[in-house]
């Protein structure tokens, strides 16, 4: 049986449905991310799990323990849930030393002094903080503060760790480093991670599985690779990575751009089912999955070419729309002002009037 289980969880704020009948299961030891734009309900979900918000419907269990249940009118306060949690703004108590911050949850559990010392030492060692133990947290950098928050959450050796955008207050290079540190800690301690972020690269790099949310509704729950390669809908495609959506309309010879100027060849066309609708379609593609192809029937004018170091970024005008193409710096490509053919590898197709 899965470890953390949310069944039909619903939360309303006044008229707004923040989370709508969400179902998800997280396995023991799994790293599970909740990903979505701000206001999508991911943080609310995490806060319901932590116990800071009550539910308006459904129930939440961890193992065989019931945490919240609307129908059962049951709600376990956060201090009894035994989670570890790390917050975006660190939430390190400035009036306590690093050591005392980490010892706080243990002291509340009335552990013997020697046990507290052992566990705090262990948590500080795991987060490379032994040298800073005596000091106040004010002297630490952002990364240091977040390590204290991690150590504090680790101290009670929780089964489940809740992480609420823990890296978004850090510098980009530090963010990457901490990402790996969190993974290493998970390997060492074996806790499950439930991770909230709006940064898709972070979610991809860290997670075993990802939940993509929008407007409080689950869009897809899958492994990072499948979310990337088989997005469930246009929203998921657009949210993960850079994307082009080229609007095409049915013409006499197949699909073409709305101004009718460019013919879309049949061979890389959409599935028959969509084609039969005779409705406008989006051709969805990633900039890195478009090739310059001299013989392609889809022609465009290169309007911008920017050298970004490892990659070269092109903007190609196709009819009345722009398509972005990215190639490695070693790949040959056209210059600004040249007309080129485009070939879409692995295109995805979505109806323009798709119901959200």
């Amino acid at each position: 049986m899965s470890h953390v289980r949310l069944a039909n969880v619903t939360k309303r704020f006044g008229q707004v449905i923040a989370v709508n009948r969400l179902n998800l299961e997280v396995e023991r030891g799994e790293c599970f991310s909740m990903l979505g734009p701000s206001g999508c309900g991911k943080t609310t979900t995490l806060r319901m799990l932590a116990g800071f918000e009550d539910l308006d419907g459904g129930e939440i269990r961890v193992g065989d323990r019931l945490l919240s249940s609307r129908s059962g009118n049951f709600y376990l306060p956060p201090e009894k849930r035994d989670f570890g949690m790390v917050f975006q703004a660190f939430a390190i108590w400035p009036h306590l030393s690093v050591y005392e911050n980490v010892a706080f949850p243990l002291r509340l559990r009335k552990l013997p002094a020697s046990e507290i010392e052992r566990r705090v030492g262990d948590a500080l060692a795991s987060t490379n903080l032994l040298a800073e133990a005596k000091g106040g947290p004010a002297d630490l950098s952002g990364g240091g503060k977040q390590r204290v928050a991690l150590a504090r959450a680790l101290a009670i050796n929780p089964d489940v760790m809740l992480l609420d955008e823990p890296l978004s207050s850090l510098d980009p290079h530090l963010r990457e480093e901490m990402r790996f540190e969190i993974k290493d800690l998970q390997k060492k301690y074996g806790f499950s991670i439930i991770y909230v972020t709006h940064d898709q690269a972070e979610a991809m790099a860290l997670s075993d599985r990802i939940l993509v949310m929008n407007f409080g509704v689950s869009q897809q729950i899958d492994t990072p690779l499948r979310v990337y390669n088989n997005p469930a809908n246009k929203f998921v495609f657009g949210f993960i990575g850079l994307s082009n959506f080229l609007r095409l309309v049915p013409g006499a010879e197949g699909l073409c751009t709305p101004d009718g100027s460019t013919i879309m060849p049949r061979d890389m066309g959409p599935p028959e089912g969509l084609l039969r609708l005779k409705a406008p379609l989006f051709l969805a593609s990633r900039p890195s999955e478009i090739d310059f192809d001299a013989v392609s029937g889809l022609r465009g004018l290169v309007t911008r070419k920017a050298f970004l170091g490892e990659i070269v970024d092109y903007q190609v005008r196709v009819g009345d729309q722009d398509v972005r193409v990215q190639k490695g710096r070693r790949s040959p490509g056209p210059e600004v002002g040249e007309v080129c053919g485009l070939c879409f590898r692995l295109p995805h197709w979505y109806p323009v009037d798709e119901p959200v």
């Binding site: 690269a201 991809m204 790099a205 390669n229 993960i240 890195s288 999955e289 050298f307 490892e310 490695g328």
Partner: protein, 367 residues
């Protein structure tokens, strides 16, 4: 003719010397970037040119006119240097509307009301802010405020624009969009731009030429983005321009061996003399493949220590005889060629390009 010329400029704050005997020339109509880590004095340099600070020694000339000369006692105040300046924190005046902000330089210059209105509206349109003329800055997003600041700096069509990290307060998407726009506007108006940033990606996109500065304010290399990226002058420049791998080697009987092991580097060795050499390369300079049946056949064998899926890219950390190197390859390529590795698997690595740096010097120039 050089549009900005700095000669022997020295500036110190107390005992802290920011610049000493610095020389720099920026050409008419080019977009020139000062790129360096924070605290390297690049902003100070911009402020010296703008006239907000005075050098302790040296000369500053703009468009052929000496605006500061420590020896000759020349110091033209910033309001008479004819510049546009865009600041990191926007510095849009909160009590004025968008129109009033943009019109201010023209008003000060005494333009007649009709001309002023025409030019102001034209400039607001140039930065894609048409229709927002009567908004107050508090009603604008950060990106829009920065557009107002840009328009204000451009209103009087100065021959020189100074931009001090104008994008660093914006979020990633907006930053990406704005850097292309600034470049486009610069091209349209032909204005000379001096752009200060610590973000090498922005510098690469926006510059015609750029200067890379180190933490102590020395200029390490000046050149076009491609020159600097492909032919870095030293290890500092190489490391600063993007994700960099440094693979230490040791020489053994005329061969260079990778890391602490016995595998020879499958690439021509360096020229010149050094105690020890370090090979440097970008993640994209590596070709990764499944292990070859015959080891040592033009490749190094290593072990995948970490595999991260980043969406469009796969990011591998590979252990080659104790040296850690990072390889990135496109996900679709990795999938189509069966190169999705798991942690702990073996792999083979060859190179497309290598730079050689003296290992001793490398330690000194640690970033």
């Amino acid at each position: 003719m050089a549009d900005i010329r700095l000669e022997g400029v020295t500036k110190a704050y107390g005992s802290h010397r920011v610049h000493s005997d610095l020389n720099l020339a920026v050409n008419q109509g080019e977009c020139f970037t000062l790129l360096g880590p924070s605290g390297c004095g690049k902003t100070v340099m911009l402020r010296l040119i703008a006239g907000f600070e005075a050098p302790d020694a040296g000369r500053v000339a703009i468009g052929g006119t000496v605006v500061y000369d420590a020896g000759g006692g020349v110091n033209i105040p910033p309001d008479r240097r004819g510049l546009g300046v865009v600041f990191q924190d926007y510095a849009v005046w909160p009590h004025m509307t968008v129109f009033q902000n943009v019109a201010y330089p023209l008003k000060i210059a005494g333009w007649n009301p009709e001309e002023l209105k025409r030019r102001t509206l034209e400039t607001i349109a140039l930065v894609n802010m048409k229709g927002l003329e009567n908004r107050l800055p508090s009603e604008l997003s950060g990106g829009q405020q920065q557009r107002v600041a840009l328009a204000r700096a451009l209103a009087a069509r100065p021959s020189l624009m100074l931009l001090d990290e104008p994008l660093s307060n914006l979020d990633a998407n907006l930053r990406e969009e704005m850097r292309f726009e600034i470049k486009e506007i610069q091209g349209k108006l032909g204005v000379t731009v001096l752009y200060v940033t610590h973000d090498q990606e922005v510098a690469l996109v926006i510059s015609d030429r750029m200067a890379v500065m180190d933490g102590r304010g020395r200029i390490r290399q000046i050149g076009s983005p491609a020159e600097i990226y492909e032919n870095p002058a030293d290890a500092f420049v190489f490391g600063f321009m993007g994700v960099a791998n440094f693979l230490p080697t040791r020489s053994d009987g005329g061969k260079l061996l990778a890391g602490g092991g016995a595998q020879p580097i499958p690439w021509p060795g360096p020229e010149g003399k050094a105690e020890a050499w370090t090979a440097a390369f970008r993640p994209s300079d590596i070709v990764i493949s499944r292990p070859k049946p015959l080891p040592g056949a033009g490749c190094l064998s290593g072990v995948i220590r970490r595999a991260s899926f980043l969406g469009a890219m796969m990011d591998y950390l590979i252990d080659v005889d104790g040296a850690k190197i990072r390889a990135v390859l496109e996900t679709h390529e990795a999938m189509s060629r069966g190169l999705i590795f798991k942690e702990g698997e073996s792999c083979a690595v060859t190179f497309l390009n290598l730079h050689w740096f003296d290992s001793g010097a490398l330690k000194e120039t640690a970033i």
